[in-house]
């Protein structure tokens, strides 16, 4: 049997349990909606303006740096699996790869992108 079928079962059951729990709660709980109850919570004040506001660019920078690093480290997994059998050449290769990664990190650091300014 394909392994992924079992993963699909896990995902299905993993969805089933929370859906079931929330469904039972929805079935059992009282349903008396009113406009005051359904307002957005803002520490007792009435909410001002839209909350889907614009965010600071810093979040994007962190996500960006993360994206690049994530892709590169994920690529290292096939390398790590075969490392034992391939000897010193593979190690040097991987070290070059990681060093290029670290250069990127040093560059962003030097440019002050990693500051939460």
């Amino acid at each position: 049997m394909n392994q992924w079928l079992l993963v699909a079962f896990f995902i299905f059951v993993g969805l089933l349990i929370p859906v079931g729990a929330i469904g039972v709660a929805w079935f059992l709980g009282p349903k008396k909606p009113n406009p005051i109850k359904q307002t957005t919570y803002e520490c007792g004040l009435e909410t001002v303006g839209d909350s889907w506001v614009q965010f600071k660019a810093q979040y994007y920078i962190f996500a960006l740096v993360f994206l690049v690093f994530d892709v590169e480290t994920v690529f290292l997994f096939p390398w790590a699996v075969k490392l034992g059998q391939l000897g010193l050449f593979a190690v040097i290769e991987g070290i070059v790869f990681i060093s290029i990664l670290v250069i990127g990190l040093v560059y962003t650091w030097r440019k002050g992108m990693l500051e939460w300014a």
Partner: protein, 169 residues
């Protein structure tokens, strides 16, 4: 029709439906979330093709990083998140026509090809795609150069993107 075919058809329609929603929906956050579901469908495709590594990095890289980046970018480029005005160009029907033409052209081309009904080759016994991929990526007479160049490409992308997005005035 076998069970594999039924699963394929369900996944394919799910993925394509989500893809249509990506290009069709007005709210960009919704579009990004539909993109996530499309990407997940593609990951299932990889799983159906026994490409374990691709299936997992599809989820890790695309859903875990690229989709998040899209959502962040949408939040950053908005004063009011709900789009005003039309989402599509004036000549959108031309684009639709072109897309349909491309699809029918590709389909027609595939129709005449003799490899169409080819079925998957069996894996040799003891075949571990993960370890083969490791060998292919790092052994000197295989794909070591693309592997290293990919890291240089990503370094360039990082430097370029950081420079562009964050040029403080």
């Amino acid at each position: 029709m076998t069970s594999a075919q039924i699963i394929f058809i369900i996944v394919a329609f799910f993925t394509l439906g989500s893809g249509v929603m990506v290009v069709g929906t007005g709210n960009l956050i919704h579009a990004a979330l539909w993109l996530v579901s499309t990407l997940f469908g593609v990951a299932v495709m990889y799983a159906l093709l026994n490409a374990n590594f691709l299936a997992v990095i599809q989820v890790v890289v695309y859903i875990g990083a690229i989709a998040i980046l899209f959502i962040f970018a949408v939040m950053l480029t908005r004063k009011e998140i709900r789009d005003q005005g039309p989402q599509l160009n004036k000549g959108w029907w031309l684009s639709a026509l072109l897309a349909v033409l491309v699809f029918s052209g590709l389909a027609a081309m595939l129709w005449g090809w003799e490899g169409m009904s080819r079925t998957a080759a069996e894996f040799p016994s003891g075949f571990d795609s993960m370890s083969e991929l490791g060998t292919a990526l790092i052994s000197p007479n295989a794909y070591v150069l693309p592997f290293e160049v990919a890291s240089v490409l990503l370094l360039a992308a990082l430097i370029g993107a950081v420079y562009i997005a964050f040029n403080r005035k």
